[in-house]
């Protein structure tokens, strides 16, 4: 087909004939398949992102990643400060023709918050919800909480009648080992309807003609085919078997750019790549841990040549960073994004002053299948540290192997990338990474640090409903992160999508999520 298409497109008249004759089919070659058709099944952003074409939330992100109404048209916080009242959009229908009402919202929120739901953490403040009337819903939270809307962008709304009919009111409980109906079937309100699914082979979505919103896309059909092998994916794009991929391998970008039938879309991801330290008394090998000293952490930062990383390892495609969140994230402050200045001599002197022994051995934990070029980043950083008289031992393995080591505190230094998804707010890393590890906070505080003044700021921000005030508090907390060198930011990583020239419009989003309801062919 591919080589004949160019002949067909020889004239404008022919083009008109073709597009009239065949529907616009977008063939999307992803680097993996979605886990199932049930967005509440597996804590996986990609699955949620793909199923967002079928299911929708009460609110959604617009083209600029600002929150806008979706299935809810408006909302207000009630007198008590913990109840939110949502007014729902009228005249919305599910794909099976059922009307969308308040009952559906309650059933969906209950389902996602069920104790067996792996996605429970996506709606952390939820306590209960109740139907006020057909198009009004009250949601009660466990306290004043400013980020409910951010959370709700990722909570898809199901049809209650459909759930009840198919005995799927509860999410599939893997522990029980029983299959669920929603794994194989889907019924949402979104711009596309699932037509068929063959796991690992092809999932087909067709345009929903009765979508409540005015379509900004002209796609009739999406065929999602996973192509896990990067080389095969590139080949399929070159031969025109797929015409969009949301993961163009960095090493193949020059080749794709040189191809006449392919356009590469490049941008900088929101994901900030950082290096973390253990703050425990001893290193993994039992030696005393010098990383508890802020001067040592600062020296380790000065020893890293961020520019060289950007140029050599990331081929100039990353954005060098010194702040823990990317510029588009609310809470970001330019004043905190000042680079440390590469100075290996000063670093060496500072390390000596802090009493760090020459040739200090410690482990450096990296993922094989994690961030963009992660292995090369780690090798480069390790050699820079070696240059100032340290002896890091690189430990590279797949995520599944490394994560337990990280969570059990067996890592002296490690990499971590954080994009603040799905919240898109600085509150996300502050609560999840930088807060002391206690209760629901600091789940990713793998170093075991604790800064009470930072915790106080984060907690205050977590219940401050005034946005400006809240962001001020978050910036103050980020300043503590910066001054204490809790983690060392390196860069925001590059992202690259690629389309064939059949695709006319494909907006690239910094959260690296395709939103095909904005795509045109």
């Amino acid at each position: 087909m591919g080589f004949r298409r160019s002949l067909l497109l020889a004239t404008v008249a022919a083009t008109a004939l073709v597009s009239a004759a065949e529907a616009n089919t977008l063939k999307w070659g992803a680097n993996r398949d979605i886990g199932s058709l049930d967005p509440y099944s597996y804590g996986d952003s990609f699955t949620i992102n793909v199923l967002n074409h079928v299911y929708e939330g009460l609110v959604r992100y617009d083209r600029d990643l600002k929150i806008e109404p979706a299935l809810a048209t408006s909302w207000e916080i009630m007198e008590d400060g913990v109840t939110w009242r949502f007014t729902l959009r009228e005249g919305v229908k599910f794909h099976n023709g059922n009307d969308f009402t308040a009952e559906d919202v309650v059933a969906s929120l209950e389902r996602v918050s069920d104790e067996t739901s792996p996605l429970k953490g996506n709606l952390p403040a939820y306590v209960s919800s109740k139907v006020v009337d057909d198009h009004t819903v009250d949601v009660t939270l466990n306290g004043t909480y400013p980020l409910l809307l951010n959370d709700l962008t990722n909570i898809h709304i199901f049809d209650k009648t459909w759930l009840v009919e198919n005995n799927a009111e509860k999410p599939t409980d893997i522990g029980a080992g029983v299959e669920g109906f929603a794994t194989y079937h889907a019924n949402g309100t979104g711009p596309f309807i699932v037509e068929s699914r063959q796991p690992d082979a092809k999932t087909v979505f067709v345009k929903n003609p009765d979508w409540w919103d005015t379509p900004q896309h002209n796609i009739d059909r999406i065929e999602l085919t996973p192509v896990t092998s990067a080389a095969t994916r590139v080949a399929a794009l070159l031969s025109g078997e797929i015409n969009f991929t949301n993961d163009a391998p960095v090493q193949d970008l020059p080749r794709l750019e040189a191809a006449p039938n392919v356009d590469v879309l490049e941008g900088v991801d929101l994901r900030t790549v950082m290096i973390g330290f253990s703050f425990r008394d001893a290193l993994a090998n039992g030696e005393a841990n010098p990383f508890k000293d802020v001067k040592v952490r600062e020296a380790m930062y000065k020893a890293i040549d961020l520019e060289a990383l950007h140029k050599k390892v990331m081929r100039g495609k990353s954005r060098v960073a010194a702040a823990a969140v990317a510029p588009p994230i609310p809470g970001y402050d330019e004043a905190l994004d000042v680079l440390p200045g590469y100075d290996p001599d000063a670093a060496k002197a500072m390390l000596a002053e802090a009493g760090v022994p020459e040739g200090l051995e410690f482990n450096f934990n990296c993922l094989q299948d994690g961030l963009v070029n992660e292995e090369q980043i780690c090798q480069a950083v390790a050699s820079m540290w070696s240059r100032v008289g340290l002896a890091p031992k690189l430990d590279v393995a797949p995520r599944a192997v490394q994560t337990p080591k990280r969570t059990n505190g067996q890592t002296d230094t490690y990499t971590l990338g954080w994009a603040t998804l799905p919240m898109l707010d600085a509150y996300s890393p502050l609560l999840q990474i930088f807060h002391t590890k206690e209760g629901n906070s600091g789940v990713f505080n793998w170093g075991g640090w604790s800064f009470p003044e930072l915790d106080a700021l984060v907690q205050e921000a977590g219940s401050e409903l005034d946005t400006q005030k809240r962001l001020g508090l978050e910036t103050d907390a980020l300043k503590v992160v910066k001054d204490e060198f809790i983690m060392l930011p390196l860069h925001q990583q590059p992202m690259a999508w690629a389309v064939t020239t059949d695709v006319k419009e494909m907006p690239l989003f910094p959260d690296n999520k395709p939103r095909l309801w904005y795509a045109k062919m």
């Binding site: 049930d38 104790e115 794994t183 796991p199 896990t228 399929a236």
Partner: protein
């Protein structure tokens, strides 16, 4: 004979139990499925709870015993990642792998046998030597390299064949076949070719060696003396005597091809059992990994047992040897 059969079956079951035991020992080093299943916002308590529900906190002997007990009842649980019944998942993927392996096997016989005969007959010719050397290359190239090369030539440069997937498939009962549609047949070519390359060289070398031996036998000399044309002698009389070992080898190799298909399926995004297994490894999907390993070891054990039993029928001495080695009286 009955004692022999019972013994072989018991052996097979022991092998399967050993495979499961080793698998469960290895799974503990694969990592933590819970970290892959929950998302970034899950709390520590939620993670611990899920681990408990999945029974991952139990000792490995407990987990192994539970697996064997369930497996004996045909229960393999549901996949952590897809939340589908594991046996259904594997059943869905089996036809793809099976068709790929069958086509690769047929291809290896169709190409390997003639090449073997030709290289045996024309031993002194340059072309035959070239084929011999070529076969060494074929054996030594890793199959993912072969796959990528084939894709580069036939998909990207020439645009003749698809680079990935199975094309359109037709469902016949629970079996999905790619034989009945043009795109399905096209999609089979490259993966089957890349999978069969190693097998082709194997068949070719075996046929060549057998032919050389047969050509020296008396009945070939008599046939020559009777003045039969060389073509008849080579392709009818001599080749017939070479085929028995080739058939045995092909049968024994099917298990290996299923194992090898893993790499080919990954390169060509062929939705078979190998691809399923590779993805299960990535996601620490223990139920799928365990079931796949059991199934593949079952195929191996069955094939080996069949070959042994067939030989025992053909040549009873082998049976006595096997029993004597096992210390039993037949």
């Amino acid at each position: 004979m009955l004692a022999f059969l019972i013994k072989r079956t018991a052996n097979g079951i022991l092998v399967m139990l050993a495979v499961a035991f080793l698998a469960f020992m290895i799974f503990r080093f694969f990592g933590d499925p819970v970290e892959m299943m929950v998302n970034e916002q899950a709390t520590q308590a939620e993670r611990a709870e899920l681990r408990e529900r999945l029974g991952l906190n139990d000792g490995f002997l407990v987990q192994y015993a539970r697996f064997v007990t369930n497996a004996a009842q045909g229960e393999f649980g549901i996949s952590y990642r897809n939340q589908q019944d594991v046996m259904v998942l594997i059943g869905e993927r089996f036809p793809a792998t099976f068709e790929l392996v069958i086509v690769a096997t047929v291809l290896s016989l169709l190409v390997g046998i003639p090449l073997g005969v030709v290289t045996a007959i024309h031993r002194e010719k340059r072309a035959a030597d070239a084929l011999q050397i070529g076969s060494i290359v074929g054996v030594s190239l890793p199959s993912f390299v072969v796959g990528i090369l084939l894709i580069l030539v036939f998909s990207v440069t020439l645009g003749w064949l698809p680079a990935f997937g199975r094309g359109e498939t037709v469902d016949i009962g629970w079996w999905s076949t790619g034989f009945l549609t043009p795109s399905g047949r096209m999609a089979l070519v490259l993966p089957a070719l890349s999978l069969s390359l190693f097998q082709i060289t194997l068949v070719m070398r075996l046929v060549r060696a057998e032919m050389l031996e047969t050509m020296r036998t008396d009945f070939v000399k008599f046939a020559r003396a009777r003045g039969l044309p060389a073509r008849t002698i080579h392709w009818r009389h001599a080749l017939r005597n070479c085929l028995m070992p080739v058939i045995t080898l092909t049968g024994m190799q099917i298990g290996n091809l299923i194992a090898f298909a893993l790499v080919t399926e990954t390169v060509f995004q062929w939705p078979g059992m190998g691809l399923l297994f590779i993805q299960a490894v990535t996601f620490v999907d223990i139920p799928v990994m365990a079931a796949y390993l059991m199934l593949v070891s079952f195929i191996f054990v069955t094939l080996n047992t069949l070959v042994d039993v067939t030989y025992a029928f053909v040549d009873p001495r082998l049976k006595d040897d096997a029993l004597a080695a096992g210390g039993a009286r037949g």
